[in-house]
Symmetry: C2
Subunit: 168 residues, 2 copies
DNA sequence: GCCAATTGTTGTCGTCAACAACAATCTTTC
DNA sequence: GAAAGATTGTTGTTGACGACAACAATTGGC
């Protein structure tokens, strides 16, 4: 968020401090965030909203959302996985994956093949159409990643990936 | 990601590569993430899920969720703000803030006071009960923040806040 | 004074996490 | 080998959340 000229805000009452003598942090609108500054979760939430919106917009022409993209890449890199394995790997519930796969299967990008070894489970594969489509998705995702670099800087993006590598 | 011994996974079909000749990255389950590794959005999403779950658990005894906490701290640091100002500052919709405030007002933590200057808007204040409650919430939130430090390291957390400071 | 904009509110829609229940199917155990 | 328990995919519900659209009351520009 670039700094902007201060405008009149809609505050009604007088500015008052909570109790300690610290100077309140304020943004361009004059609204202080107080304890929120210094909370990793708040910064991460705001960043995640921005990054997802850019991803959705950048891959808007092919109508692929972040979760769909993650499912496709995992299946593409590991053909034959069961739904349970994909769900566990991506940290999504198997109940949620059912709907995701329903959608992707309708679009002829993925197919569920009944497993011979375990007749409860399905082996997941990309269709031929899904393979070529995924190549395009990856190009668009790379473009999105360049937007991230442009936003926070190449060095910072690399550091971010390093810091959070334990969560992937 | 440290290399780990591969275990038997639930894959049904044979491992196959997409198209390029790269070696697939794999986790402890032997399930490769392929293109997902190197995507900032994926790492951030996983981290955000972890951090929110820890926040919710750490503040579970007082039943305060991250968004509620952010609303309370902003009002506490800027008494008299209108709903519009709070919503804009936190990046939430004013329609969503209505329900959040309904809940917080029922719990006697916040009060809406009809403004004299602009009779469309409400001046938001913490109740006396809300002030003391927020102090406790802040202590618990600080405890949560120590969990984050323990998870990713003190240095990394500081770098993260620096990198993402533009989004708060 | 009139028209446009703003504020709070209500409502709908879609995404997503968290559960719970269920049938079909494996696996363990006796 | 049969009974008991666990797993897989599926369906459904609940609640938090973002995005939109409409509305009445009120304000401000002109």
């Amino acid at each position: 968020m670039p700094p902007t000229a201060a405008r009149a805000d809609t505050r009604h009452g007088p500015r008052k401090r909570a109790g300690n003598g610290a100077v309140p942090r304020s943004d361009a609108d004059g609204v202080g965030l107080d304890a929120l500054v210094g909370h990793a979760g708040y910064a991460v939430r705001r960043f995640q909203i921005w990054i997802f919106q850019d991803f959705i917009k950048t891959l808007g022409e092919v109508d692929i959302r972040p979760t769909q993209y993650s499912v496709l890449t995992v299946i593409g890199a590991n053909p034959g996985l069961s739904q349970m394995a994909v769900a566990k790997r991506l940290g999504i519930e198997r109940a949620r994956l059912v709907h995701l796969l329903d959608s992707l299967e309708q679009r002829k990008l993925v197919k569920r093949i009944k497993s011979k070894e375990d007749r409860r489970s399905h082996a997941l594969h990309l269709t031929a159409q899904g393979e070529t489509a995924l190549e395009k998705f990856k190009r668009l995702a790379a473009e999105h990643e360049r937007h991230v670099e442009a936003k926070i800087g190449k060095e910072n993006r690399a550091q971010l990936l390093r810091i959070l590598s334990g969560f992937t």
